[in-house]
C-alpha cells in the first residue's frame, strides 16, 4: 500500500531523514522506534505531505504522491495524527470528529451521524458535547484518533499516541489500536513505549540519526545488537504477549 523509496530530508546542514526505504502492505501494523531526534516525526511529515523530501519518493497505492500537499494526501486516504495533539479546542468533541467526516461526506447531517458512531467506537461517547479544550490528555489523544478515523483512512499514521498516558489509559489505547487493526485498518505507529509496541506491531523499523538501522519482527528487533546498543539499552526479555 505504501512504499518509501530512499527518502531523504535535509534542514540546512542537518540530514533528518537519510535514504529511508520501507514497504507497508495492506493490513499491516508497522512500528517505528528510535531515540528522540532520530527523524521519526520528520518521516511522518514527509509521508503526509507537510515537508517535501529532498530525494526519494513516496508511493501510496501505486500513486506517486511525493511532494503533494498534505490535504491532497489526506483525501487519498492517508491520514496522520500529531505527536503534540492538535484538537480544535473551541469546538465540541462531536464537531471535531464531524469535521473529519466532512472530508468524504457531503452533508453535515451525514457527517454528524457518522461522527457519533466513530465517537462510540473510540470510547468518547460520554464526552461528545464537551469542548475539546477542556478534555484531559488521555481523552484528547483519543479524540485525535477519532477525528482521523472519521476520514475513513486506508492508512493511518499514529505519532506517539500512547505517550503521557497512565497505565490504565495505556491499556485502553492499546486495545483501541488493536481493534482498529483487527477491523482492517493499515497502521504505522511511532512509539517509545516498548511494551505497547511489542504487543501491537507485526514488524518494527528502527530509525537512528535519520537512517533505518534495523527492521524485523518484534522478537528480532529486541534481540538485534544494533538496536540494543543504540536504543533499548540491554537485553530486552520478551514476555509472551
Amino acid at each position: 500500500m505504501l512504499a518509501l523509496e530512499r527518502l531523504t530530508k535535509r534542514f540546512g546542514g542537518l540530514t533528518a531523514v537519510r535514504e529511508v526505504s520501507l514497504e507497508v502492505r495492506a493490513g499491516d501494523l508497522l512500528g517505528i522506534i528510535g531515540p528522540n531526534g532520530a527523524g521519526k516525526t520528520t518521516l511522518f511529515n514527509v509521508i503526509a505531505g507537510y515537508y517535501r523530501p529532498d530525494e526519494g519518493r513516496v508511493v501510496f497505492d501505486g500513486r506517486d504522491v511525493t511532494g503533494r500537499p498534505a490535504h491532497e494526501i489526506a483525501r487519498l486516504g492517508l491520514t496522520r495524527t500529531f505527536q503534540i495533539v492538535k484538537p480544535f479546542g473551541n469546538l465540541s468533541v462531536l464537531d471535531n470528529v464531524m469535521i473529519g467526516g466532512l472530508t468524504r461526506l457531503p452533508s453535515t447531517r451525514a457527517a454528524r451521524a457518522d461522527a457519533e458512531r466513530v465517537i462510540e467506537v473510540c470510547g468518547l461517547g460520554l464526552h461528545a458535547a464537551a469542548r475539546a479544550r477542556a478534555l484531559p490528555l488521555a481523552l484528547r489523544k483519543r479524540l485525535e484518533v477519532a477525528r482521523a478515523l472519521a476520514t475513513r483512512p486506508r492508512l493511518l499514521l499514529l505519532d506517539e499516541v500512547m505517550s503521557g498516558l497512565n497505565p490504565t489509559e495505556l491499556v485502553a489505547m492499546i486495545d483501541l489500536v488493536r481493534r482498529l487493526h483487527a477491523d482492517g485498518l493499515t497502521l504505522i505507529v511511532i512509539e517509545h513505549i516498548m511494551a505497547a509496541m511489542m504487543r501491537l506491531a507485526q514488524r518494527i523499523v528502527m530509525l537512528h540519526h535519520g537512517e533505518k538501522l534495523a527492521e524485523g519482527t518484534p522478537r528480532e528487533i529486541a534481540a538485534d545488537r544494533r538496536v540494543i546498543d543504540a536504543y533499548l539499552g540491554e537485553e530486552f526479555v520478551l514476555a509472551e504477549a
Binding site: 503526509a48 507537510y50 500537499p69 498534505a70 490535504h71 491532497e72 489526506a74 483525501r75 491520514t79 496522520r80 495524527t81 500529531f82 492538535k86 484538537p87 480544535f88 479546542g89 473551541n90 469546538l91 464537531d95 464531524m98 469535521i99 473529519g100 466532512l102 472530508t103 457531503p106 452533508s107 453535515t108 457527517a111 477525528r147 482521523a148 472519521a150 476520514t151
Partner: protein, 325 residues
C-alpha cells in the same frame, strides 16, 4: 422550524424591531441612526467572515470599503452610471484585492498579517488622495443624488429597509457559515490549520475564499454607504480608524457569532451618537473621548470577555435555563 425560531429569538426580536421602527417612527434623525446601525453592523459582519470565522484578523478592511465607495462615487459622478453598476465594479475590484490579501494571509502569521493589511489600506489611501486626475485627489468626490431606486437616491424610510435587507442577508450568510460544510471546515482551519490539513481540508484555499468573500461583502456596503452619505473622502474611507471600527463592533458584540457584529454595532453606534449629541458644542477635542472609551473597551473585552456581548447573553440564557431546569 419552531426550534429554529426559538434559537434565533434574539435576532428575530432585534430585526423585527428594526423592521417596525420606520413605520412607528418618522423622525429623520432617528431613522438615520437606524440606517447607520444596520450598515455598520453589516460591515462588521462582513469583517467577521474573515476575522471571526476564518480567524484572519485584518485591520485593513477599509481598503475594500473604500473601493466600494469610490466605485459608486466615480460611477455616478464621473461616468453618470448607476451606482449598482459601480457596486458591481467595486465587487470585482474587491475580489481581486481580497485575493491578494488572502495570499498574504497564507504567508504571514497573525500580527504580521494584520500589519500588512494596514499597509495595504494605506497604499490605497495615498493613491486615492493623490491621484487628482482620477479621484479628485484629497478633495474627495461628492456623490450625486438622483431620486429613484436604480440610482440609489432614496428617502430615509427606503434606506432603512434597504439597510435592513442587507443586514438580514449578512446575518444569514454568517449563520450559513456556522452550519454549512464549508463553515465547519473553515472553523477547523481557524482552530488549527495543520490539523485541518491532516483531515483533507485545503486550508490555504479556504482562507483565501473567506477573505475574498469578506472583501466583496465589505465593498457592497461601501457603495451603499457612499450613496447614503453622499460624499467620499479618501482620508476617511480608507482610514485605519475605520478598519478598526469594523473589527471593534464584531469583537465587542461577539466575534465569530452571527449576531455579534450587530449587537456590537447597536452598542457602539448608539454610544457614539449619544456622546456626540451631548458633547456637541464643546470643543472638538472632546469627540475623542468616546474613542478613548472604545479603546479601553477593546482592551477589556478582548482580555476578559472574549465572547463579547453575545457570549454574555448566552451565559445569561444558560443560567436562566439552569435555574428552570
Amino acid at each position: 422550524m419552531r426550534r429554529a425560531l426559538a434559537r434565533h429569538r434574539g435576532a428575530l426580536l432585534l430585526f423585527g424591531a428594526a423592521a417596525l421602527t420606520p413605520i412607528v417612527v418618522r423622525d429623520a434623525y432617528f431613522l438615520d441612526s437606524l440606517v447607520l446601525i444596520l450598515l455598520w453592523g453589516s460591515l462588521s459582519a462582513a469583517w467577521n467572515v474573515a476575522g471571526g470565522y476564518a480567524g484572519q484578523v485584518s485591520i485593513g478592511h477599509a481598503a475594500f470599503f473604500g473601493i466600494g465607495a469610490y466605485s459608486a462615487a466615480l460611477a455616478g459622478a464621473r461616468w453618470q452610471q448607476s451606482p449598482w453598476l459601480g457596486m458591481l465594479a467595486g465587487i470585482a475590484l474587491s475580489l481581486v484585492a481580497g485575493a491578494a490579501i488572502g495570499y498574504l494571509s497564507n504567508r504571514l502569521r497573525g500580527p504580521y498579517f494584520a500589519l500588512s493589511t494596514i499597509a495595504f489600506s494605506q497604499v490605497l489611501l495615498i493613491v486615492a488622495s493623490r491621484w487628482r486626475g482620477f479621484t479628485s485627489g484629497s478633495e474627495g468626490i461628492p456623490v450625486p443624488f438622483r431620486p429613484g431606486f436604480a440610482t440609489l437616491g432614496l428617502g430615509h424610510v427606503a434606506w432603512a429597509y434597504l439597510a435592513l435587507a442587507v443586514a438580514l442577508l449578512y446575518w444569514g450568510i454568517q449563520l450559513w457559515l456556522e452550519r454549512s460544510r464549508f463553515g465547519y471546515r473553515l472553523a477547523g482551519v481557524r482552530e488549527d490549520e495543520d490539523a485541518a490539513q491532516a483531515l483533507g481540508i485545503p486550508a490555504r484555499r479556504l482562507k483565501v475564499i473567506a477573505v475574498t468573500v469578506s472583501a466583496a461583502l465589505t465593498s457592497v456596503c461601501g457603495t451603499l454607504w457612499a450613496q447614503y452619505v453622499g460624499f467620499v473622502d479618501p482620508f476617511y474611507v480608507f482610514s485605519v480608524d475605520l478598519s478598526i471600527r469594523f473589527a471593534l463592533n464584531a469583537i465587542i458584540g461577539g466575534v465569530g457569532t452571527a449576531l455579534g457584529p450587530f449587537l456590537g454595532s447597536i452598542l457602539i453606534t448608539s454610544l457614539e451618537t449619544y456622546l456626540r449629541a451631548t458633547l456637541s458644542g464643546v470643543q472638538s477635542g472632546f469627540t475623542g473621548i468616546y474613542l478613548i472609551v472604545y479603546g479601553t473597551m477593546l482592551i477589556l473585552v478582548v482580555r476578559f470577555f472574549p465572547a463579547g456581548l453575545a457570549g454574555l447573553a448566552a451565559r445569561l440564557r444558560a443560567r436562566r435555563a439552569g435555574a428552570h431546569g
